[in-house]
C-alpha cells in the first residue's frame, strides 16, 4: 500500500480510538512491566548495597529511595492527569478522559506512599511521625485533590458528564496547586520558622542520586504500566456494547 507522510500522521490519530488503542496498550503493557522490573532491581541494588550510609542519618535515610520518587510521581501524575482531562474537554475525545480516570488512583497511591514513607522517615530523624512542614502539608492536600477527583467521577452515573466534570475539577486543581504550595510554604515560615527542612542534607553522593533516579524511572514505568492496564479495563467496561469488544478473542470463552 502507498503510504504518504500524511497518512502516517493519520495513523497516530487513529490510536485515539478505544478500539485501536486497546490492542496497542495490550502490547505496550509487558514492555513497561519489564522496564519497571529492570530499573527497580537496579535501583534497589544501588540503594541498598552500593550507596553508602549517610554520615548524619545512618541507614534510616534509605527510605528516601522510595519516598522521593513517590512524591515526584504524585505531582507528575496530577499534571499528566490534568493534561489528559484538558485534552478530553477541548477535543471531546473519549480516550483522553479514560486516561485521566485511569491515572487518578495511581496518583492517589503515590501521594499516600509519599506521606506514609515520609512518616517512617520522620519518626527517627525528626522524632515525630508528622510535622506541619510545608511539603508534607501540600502533599496531603494533593492527596485530597486526587480523592476529590475520584469521588466526583464515582458519584456521577453518566460517564460523559463524569468525564467533563472531573476535567473541570482537575483544571481548577492545577491552577490551585502552585497557589496552595506557596501559601502553605509562607504559612509555615510565618508560624514556626524553618527549623525543620528537608533540604538540610548536604550535597548527595553520586551513587545516592543514581539510586534515586533509577527508582524514580522504575516508579514512572510502573505508573504507565498500571495506568494502561486500568485504561484497558475502563475501555472494556464503557465499550461493552460495541461489536469489537463482543468479538474480542479473550472474551469469547
Amino acid at each position: 500500500m502507498y503510504s504518504s507522510p500524511r497518512n502516517r500522521l493519520m495513523n497516530w490519530f487513529s490510536f485515539s480510538s478505544p478500539a485501536t488503542f486497546y490492542p496497542l496498550a495490550g502490547k505496550l503493557i509487558p514492555l513497561f512491566w519489564v522496564l519497571a522490573t529492570l530499573l527497580g532491581v537496579a535501583g534497589l541494588w544501588i540503594s541498598f548495597f552500593v550507596a553508602p550510609a549517610d554520615a548524619v542519618q545512618g541507614q534510616g535515610y534509605r527510605i528516601i529511595f522510595v519516598h522521593v520518587p513517590a512524591s515526584w510521581m504524585s505531582m507528575f501524575i496530577y499534571m499528566v492527569m490534568a493534561a489528559w482531562a484538558a485534552i478530553g474537554l477541548i477535543f471531546n475525545t473519549r480516550l483522553s478522559a479514560m486516561m485521566a480516570q485511569a491515572l487518578a488512583p495511581t496518583g492517589a497511591l503515590m501521594a499516600f506512599l509519599s506521606l506514609w514513607t515520609g512518616a517512617f522517615w520522620g519518626k527517627p530523624m525528626w522524632g515525630a511521625w508528622w510535622v506541619w512542614d510545608a511539603r508534607l502539608t501540600s502533599e496531603l492536600i494533593l492527596l485530597f485533590l486526587f480523592l476529590g477527583f475520584i469521588a466526583l467521577q464515582a458519584s456521577i452515573d453518566d460517564v460523559r458528564r463524569a468525564d467533563k466534570a472531573g476535567a473541570i475539577l482537575a483544571l481548577v486543581g492545577i491552577v490551585n496547586v502552585p497557589i496552595i504550595y506557596f501559601s502553605v510554604k509562607w504559612w509555615n515560615t510565618l508560624h514556626q520558622g524553618s527549623s525543620v527542612s528537608m533540604t538540610k542534607a548536604p550535597a548527595m553522593a553520586h551513587t545516592m542520586l543514581w539510586g534515586m533516579l533509577l527508582m524514580a524511572l522504575c516508579f514512572w514505568m510502573y505508573s504507565i504500566a498500571i495506568a494502561l492496564m486500568r485504561v484497558r479495563v475502563i475501555i472494556l467496561e464503557r465499550e461493552s456494547h460495541s461489536d469489537w469488544v463482543k468479538n474480542l478473542k479473550a472474551l469469547q470463552s
Binding site: 458519584s155 458528564r161 475539577l169 490551585n176 509562607w186 504559612w187
Partner: protein, 221 residues
Amino acid sequence: MSAFFAIIRRDLLLVFRRKSEVLTILFFFIIVTSLFPLGIGADSGLLRKIAPGIIWVAALLATILGLSRLFISDYADGTLEQMTLSPTPLVLLVGGKITAHWIVCGLPLVLLAPVIGIQFDLNSETLGTLILALLLGTPILSLIGAIGAALTLGVRGGGVLLSLLVLPLYIPVLIFGAGAVFASSVGLDVSGHFSLLAALLVLSLAFAPWATAASIRIAIE
C-alpha cells in the same frame, strides 16, 4: 448588566421570603464558634491565640453549608436551563447568583465576626483586621464554592462531596485570612496578607464565573 442586577434582586427576594434557610447558616456559625471555648477551656490567652483560626474555619464551613442551596432549586425547577438558553451570557447570570449568595451568606458573617471576636477577647485593632480580612476573603469562598456547587448538581451525596471538593481549594484563603488576623494580634504588618487576599480575589473573580458556567452547562446537557 441589568440582567445581572435582576438576578441579584430575584435571589435576594427569594431568600427574604424564606428567611429560615439563611438564618440557620448564621446560627451554625455562631454555635460552632461558641463550642470551641467550651471544649478548650476559658483561658483567655489561649482563646485569643486561636480565635482567628476558629472564626475563619467556622466561616468556611458556614459558606459550604450555604453553597448547596446556591443552584439546586433553580436546577430542579428548570430555571437554570432557561438561563443557559437566554441571550444574556451565562457567566453574567452566574455572577449575579454568586453575588447574591455572598450578600446572603458572606456579608452577615463579616458583620457577625466582631461580636464573636469580642467573645474571644480580641482587641479593637484586631477586630478591624478581622472584618477587613473577611470582607476580602468571603467573596473568594463564594466564587470558588460556586464551581463545586455547579459540579455536584444533581449528584448522589452532593452536599458531602461538595465539601470534599471545595475545602482543599479554600486552604490559601484560610491561611492568609487567619494569618492577617494573627499577625495583627501580635503587632506585625498585615499589608502583605491583604495584598495576597486581594490577589486571590481578583484571580477568582477572573476565572471562577467561567468555570462555574462551564460546569452548569455540563450538568444540564
